[in-house]
Amino acid sequence: MPPEINNEQGIPNEDRERLALSGINLSLAGRCGSYFQMNQDVVHSTCSEEGIDVLPYSEALKRYEWLKDYAWNLVPKDKDEYTRYVAEQKEPQGYVIIAKKGSNNIFPVQACLYLGREQVQHVHNIIIAEENAELHIVSGCASGTHVGRGGAHYGISEFYVGKNAKISFTMIHTWGQEIEVYPRSAAIVEEGGTFLSNYVCMQPVKKIQMYPTAHCRGRDSVARFSSVVIGTPGSTMDLGSRAVLSAKGASAELITRAITKGGTIISRGHISGQVEGTKGHLECKGLILKDGIIYAIPEIEGKVVGTELTHEAAVGKIAREEIEYLMSRGLDEEMATATIIRGFLDVKITGLPDALQRSIDSAIDTAEKSGF
């Protein structure tokens, strides 16, 4: 096991807790590898699993000549001001994770991006699972409790899911009220490959805006996006996900559970069925607890006969009848409400290792303990 990251390396205790909330285990227990970036510094980058490389971006590009073709390939440099900002950096940071042919990690790799001061943190990540490889990653992003206005995170991520390979990427965010976050991600999924992208954000953030795309271009490829978010007062969360199904048998599922207690949540989704024999389902359920706005914009686009696309969107408040049902079993109104919310957020993700499901569950449980 790699050495533990110690306090000396500058992480206050309270922030360590925030990292834990984001699924980051500083002792590295239950993790096969770890990348840790604090502001723009790589604190460590390590992996003990045979067949899996966890490298800082620049080092990886030096080591593997071919990798340059994978950078800025799925996310265009000039997509917007955020991609341009990252592309212009003289010293790009971020991580590259490569799961070699046939490798498989039972314990996930953790990637931690920690923002400890008011600056723009930028990363560029490339994640590759070669043929028949299975790669599980938990990406924990957190800012220090004290980080105020001016803190921002721009992240480019490019995922390559090879033939019959699988990548699960579970992103748990613990930002602060003043932080702005702009992830820019895309994935390519080859024949028989599976891409699982999970997003959890239970804590305040000033603004987050993202719209990752999965290109399911291989036969029978699968993309599943799941998002579980709470919008607190002052937060604006503009979250989307897109799947482009361009090979026979390709399928996608986009699931969102959104709760607002004062924040604005825009939940976008787009599935494009480009050839026959494709299938997609988009589901957004929103609960408005207090004020706040939930704006669900589901789009399904069928270009041919023989693509089967469905969507389901519902936004509302908790039914009085449901609350009273639980009250009749002895729970007070607050407890009954919290129990229903916890159930609402309980998304079980098929194909996700238990350890990662637990990380998701505990992030939500923590929010429940503080009364959502």
Binding site: L326, G330, G343, F344
Partner: protein
């Protein structure tokens, strides 16, 4: 246990129950019969305190205390329990999670109790989602077993239940109502809505009431009333009282 006087209940602006008077003593089990839409479920829901059911007039006293305005959970904590005729489905909330949240019992205890009503396979399902008629009853009885209330209200516990499961449910309901305890020592009381009367084989029901058009029109021995209804139908049964 329960004293209801001059109760008027309105739903959606319309008075459904008119001038209900009912007194259920400790250890007594009463049966409530009456045609569809007569107001039986409304009475149970009003006793439990559901907000859809507006009490216009009258009082409900429970264990000597006026509970007419009390929130639902306060009544539950004082010992009222109800089996719903049509409980809501709650998306994402697993039956097992609900039982854990309401009972503070440990997982293995919950599992053991669930087995006794063949519900162990349902603990990880969304509560009531896609439950069959009989499964809803078993899930409801399981929740009541956890709660173990002093006053048990059952809304058609046997309807939609197959013969084998009626036996299973009946036995549990008998337990809840302390059927095995001698009458003089029995503390638990019940109010049971039934159309078929099958449940009478499993409980000691003392008194039966017939509700019609939101009023309790007749009292008597539950089996006698049932016989009357079976032979002559509600219409004549109720007319008999007008004489």
């Amino acid at each position: 246990m329960l004293e209801i006087s001059d109760l008027h209940v309105e739903v959606g602006g319309k008075e459904i129950l008119h001038d209900i008077n009912l007194n259920i003593r400790d250890g007594e089990t009463h049966v409530l019969m009456g045609p569809n839409g007569s107001g039986k479920s409304t009475l149970l829901m009003a006793i439990m305190g559901f907000s859809t059911f507006n009490i216009r007039e009258g009082t409900i006293r429970f264990k000597g205390e006026d509970v007419t305005q009390m929130p639902v959970h306060e009544r539950a904590l004082r010992g009222m329990g109800i089996m719903f005729q049509r409980p809501p489905t709650i998306s994402g909330l697993k039956l097992g999670k609900l039982l854990a949240a309401t009972s503070k019992k440990k997982e293995d205890e919950i599992l053991a109790l669930a087995r006794t009503v063949n519900m162990d396979q349902f603990l990880s399902r969304d509560i009531n989602r896609g439950f069959s008629g009989g499964e809803i009853k078993r899930s409801e009885i399981l929740q009541l077993m956890m709660q173990n209330p002093d006053f048990v209200m059952l809304d058609e516990p046997e309807s939609g239940v197959d013969l084998e499961n009626i036996h299973l449910l009946g036995a549990r309901i008998g337990n809840l109502l302390e059927k095995e305890v001698q009458i003089v020592n029995r503390k638990k009381s019940g109010l049971i809505i039934t159309h078929t009367g099958y449940i009478l084989d499993y409980v000691d029901a003392n008194i039966g009431h017939v509700m019609c058009d939101g009023e309790i029109k007749c009292h008597g021995s539950p089996r006698e009333i049932l016989k009357e209804i079976k032979e002559r139908g509600y219409k004549e049964c109720l007319e008999c009282r007008q004489k």
